[in-house]
Symmetry: C2
Subunit: 591 residues, 2 copies
């Protein structure tokens, strides 16, 4: 089944609900007119369906191949051609800075394109995805010389980039890093060490790969305060010499087999310091925050493709009769979409996908406002929300993206479990998104342990202001009472954490995961109320795409009736505290 | 990591909570003394760890191989040897009838062994698993001649069996079957047609395979009332001639790759009618009901293995420090099990696994009482519960087994996604259990659309009586109020369905999945209260395995505080009805 980009839903969200069509009124985004945004949606959708999607299954079947003789990696058939088309279309440059050849468009559009690429080939999307993080880190923290050397070719897609963080003994805890950077005479550093799980560490899509590497300077403290960031190219930019950084092998994985996940050996490779010594964690977070939002879009992208596949199957597969009488009396049976329980699965996918898309693009829009709005207070409150919601987008969209891919597989029954259909690959590919760029548990700790406390709690207050202002300004807001109830639950849980966690950090850890989920469901409830309100107004005005608008009203009702009530459970979980988690001693776990 | 059978938990459950140690007081199970049950637990655990587990990874890597020349299937290395050991140990005969060489032991013990086999190699376990279904169907419905011909060799494991139901155009809706049975002159039938997804349809573990095949007699009605059951051996028992039933190919699947999932072509193969003409669905349900309980144990088995792997990892992996200060001050970091969010994942696995084991063995014990108790009213109420809970065991244990395998994978982070660890295989293998033997949605429809209405609602009344009697007899029952609340929720939802579904069968379909889950959580709450009560009493008496008993109290608390509150959500979902599921017309799904 050919992918169909959710263009109507995107235009409804961006133009009618979120107001992204007004970004062009800001100087920085003057080019981002509604017509241009619409063209981006349509062109990206075409590229995804026609160029990227055909590479997805072969990527999974072939995987990447490592040659231990040459220490080189071959990507699956068609990846190089599809990547070239992606680059030629200028897609790697979409939101990159103008001064280095980027198009300077809003980040929201990058989110839109990310979703489509990940719907059609997550593995292929990883190569430009990681490059984008490298661009952002170099742009934010690199010297002018480094920027001049690397940015243009990374932005054009002529080179790709990586993030080299993890080592065998350290993933989450980067204080344990052992890779060393020793100063050379010429201002560069000799980088020595082994990094693992390096996405795109070695491949054949381009001629040069620019590694951003966390390492320790001589005498640096043995904690995260002793980490510095270096840029280490595969091929030296000046001389064209091969830098001694080599792939030592590939990981064998459950999914994303077309993405080269490399062991990288730095054998005294030359690197250059990015930013200040021992300040690498800050630069790393610049990459990481961006990557986290992108990973959220991966979850959504896979879930959207799963929805399309399972909807198509449910409409075609004839099996049994509707409980309320035959709907396809001339056929041997009715299509399974007539059954309430099949519809439950399809509605769950559709309503959560659209809610997750709204959450992500709401966050993307705030990101654009935070960098481009003329009013400092608007910029600040937008930035508050971006910081607060980044871990929420990453975790909720990957958890529920995976769940929705699984729900799509379930609609297909036994067919879904076979490799004749793409669902099982979507499930396998999607599993990693709950783990990389910080596991979802780490995201929850970032939210509860860090973000809630920033600026004396201002971030979450900004969120409450956003939602309560909406309710004040819209006395007829759809599903008003349920939304108020959700906000009250989130407030109650927030107060509980604020009262209990400061004296006992284990309480924050115990509350973290359900609290993140509670926040996600509440913000999505707010966005479903807004979407339903817009749909209602447009229907009353007699305009628009009626099936889409009517669908929004039904979907909102489904969300408030059948999904949102989870919040009561989450609130009870949070407020019951840590005791039942922490009581076990060593001898209780397998007694 | 070597599998460790949950022997202590099993003895606690079987002997101290459920009273399975008293089954030997019934004539039919006089051999099932506590000593014998204990020996079965220990021996099965050893077999699983030492003989079966070593075949699991190689089975996944190699898969089964099909030779289109010979139309034969080769199983992975080691399968034949492990199967032979399984047969030699008498495990295929455990609960089979004495008169055909079986050991006649309680079904509960079969459940116990099923869990262990599925923890260590689900694919291998499928071969004897399907054979068991064939034995049961032949024993219940076959003529004396058929039983004499086939049962002894199936029970000894010398031959294996299959269930041939599905065809390309029909899975759930067996009324659409096209396979034909034409009478031969000698009382046999010529079977012609194609069956798909036939587990163990062809393989090299044994010399003969006995297929139980659904087919239509000439002139039979075009519905499920026109289906008959036939036994079709690969090799004819009298002549030793090869019967023309051949494997046409293997499915390529997400998991259970060591299990041969075959396309089977019946090319005029000779078959013999089992039971009455056109009465095949009844015989099919005999196999199916048993198979559904076994599939539930598959979900639990995989989840148990995932728990053991993730617990081991969480104890070894050093990363970051406990939020309440270093626990491993001499090491570079603390083991990740110190973190509340990691404990949340481990507790979820442990507490749900133990709760699911309790639910399954409670049901298994009722199955034994329903066939062996001397008092007809005890037999009847036990049978009520078995019928009611069979779809609940199948669905809940496979849904949560899969979720728990995923939770285990998450504990490992990136390692869990690689094939260096067994978690990703457990997840892939476990995905099918939510689908086969009737998807979990079909199970929910069986519960709500069929079981609730049987005998004028008596089945669910028997369940309520079981739980409320417990509360009456145990005024000090642990977590009494929460359990009462859960029973009230289940009662409310039951009344809602009884009031709304009779006039509108779509309401039953809309309520089915959340209702099944609500029932599962409530019955498990009842069993956690019982387990905690027993543990409390034993601790007060100063006896037993203290870590296990203390663990039960903490686990029960975790269940009631952090898992059971989901029921409020489920109740709201059910009682909000079908409207938001059924409102979409054709043009709304992808507007």
């Amino acid at each position: 089944m050919q992918y169909q980009a959710p263009a109507n839903d995107l235009r409804f969200l961006l133009f009618d609900v979120l107001g992204v069509d007004r970004l062009h009124e800001l100087e920085k985004y003057a080019d981002a007119t509604p017509d241009l945004i619409s063209a981006v949606i349509d062109e990206a959708g075409k590229l995804a369906a026609e160029v990227i999607q055909p590479t997805n299954q072969v990527g999974d079947r072939q995987g990447c191949q490592y040659d231990p003789e040459t220490r080189e990696v071959t990507t699956p058939d068609g990846f190089r051609e599809a990547y070239t088309r992606f680059v030629e279309g200028g897609w790697t440059a979409l939101d990159a800075p103008l001064q280095y050849g980027g198009q300077g468009l809003p980040h929201t559009l990058k989110f839109v394109v990310d979703e489509m690429v990940c719907s059609t080939n997550l593995s292929l999307g990883m190569y430009p995805g990681l490059t984008h993080g490298a661009i952002t880190a170099l742009y934010a923290h690199g010297s002018e010389e480094l920027k001049d050397t690397y940015l243009e070719k990374l932005i054009s897609g002529q080179w790709t980039g990586t993030m080299c963080l993890t080592e065998p003994q350290c993933g989450t805890d980067l204080g344990l890093i052992r890779t060393r950077a020793t100063p050379n005479d010429d201002g560069s550093y000799a980088i020595e060490g082994t990094k693992i799980w390096i996405t795109g560490g070695e491949h054949d899509l381009v001629d040069n790969i620019v590694h951003l590497v966390l390492a320790k300077l001589p005498g640096a403290p043995d904690t995260t305060k002793g980490i510095s960031l270096f840029v280490v190219p595969k091929v030296l930019a000046d001389s064209g010499d091969r830098n001694p950084v080599f792939c030592g092998g590939l990981e064998h994985k459950m999914g994303i087999k077309g993405s080269a996940t490399c062991v990288m050996n730095f054998e005294g490779a030359r690197g250059w310091l990015v930013g200040e010594p021992n300040d690498g964690m800050r630069a790393m977070f610049t990459m990481m925050n961006e990557a986290r939002l992108m990973v959220g879009m991966q979850g959504l992208g896979l879930a959207e493709m799963a929805y399309q596949e399972s909807l198509g199957f449910a409409r075609e597969r004839l099996q049994s009769r509707s409980p309320s009488g035959p709907r396809n009396p001339d056929g041997p049976a009715d299509p399974i979409i007539v059954h309430p329980d099949v519809r439950r699965m399809l509605m769950r996918q559709k309503v959560l996908n659209e809610g997750m898309r709204a959450l992500a693009l709401f966050t993307g829009h705030k990101l654009d406002l935070s960098v481009a709005h003329g009013d400092g207070s608007v910029r600040e409150s937008a930035d508050d929300l971006v910081q607060l919601l980044t871990p929420v987008v990453k975790s909720f969209l990957t958890d529920e993206g995976f769940n929705n891919a699984n729900t799509g597989l379930q609609v297909l029954g036994g067919s879904g479990f076979t490799t004749d259909w793409p669902l099982e690959q979507l499930v396998r590919d999607g599993r990693i998104a709950r783990i990389y760029e910080g596991t979802n548990g780490i995201q929850a700790m970032d939210l509860v342990g860090r973000k809630l406390g920033l600026k004396g709690g201002q971030l979450v207050r900004t969120l409450f202001t956003e939602m309560t202002s909406y309710l004040k300004e819209n006395p007829q807001a759809p599903h008003r009472e349920e939304l108020k109830g959700a906000i009250r639950s989130l407030e109650s849980a927030t107060v509980w954490i604020a009262s209990n966690a400061p004296g006992d950090p284990e309480q924050a850890g115990a509350a973290a995961s359900p609290y993140l989920r509670l926040m996600a469901l509440t913000v999505i409830a707010y966005l479903w109320s807004r979407m339903a309100g817009v749909a209602q107004a447009q229907l009353e005005a007699g305009g628009g795409n009626r099936p889409l608008l009517e669908g929004k009203l039904v979907s909102a009702r489904f969300y408030f009736e059948k999904l949102l009530p989870e919040i009561q459970w989450l609130q009870q979980d949070i407020e019951s505290g840590k005791d039942s988690l922490m009581a076990f001693g060593d001898d209780h776990w397998s007694a």
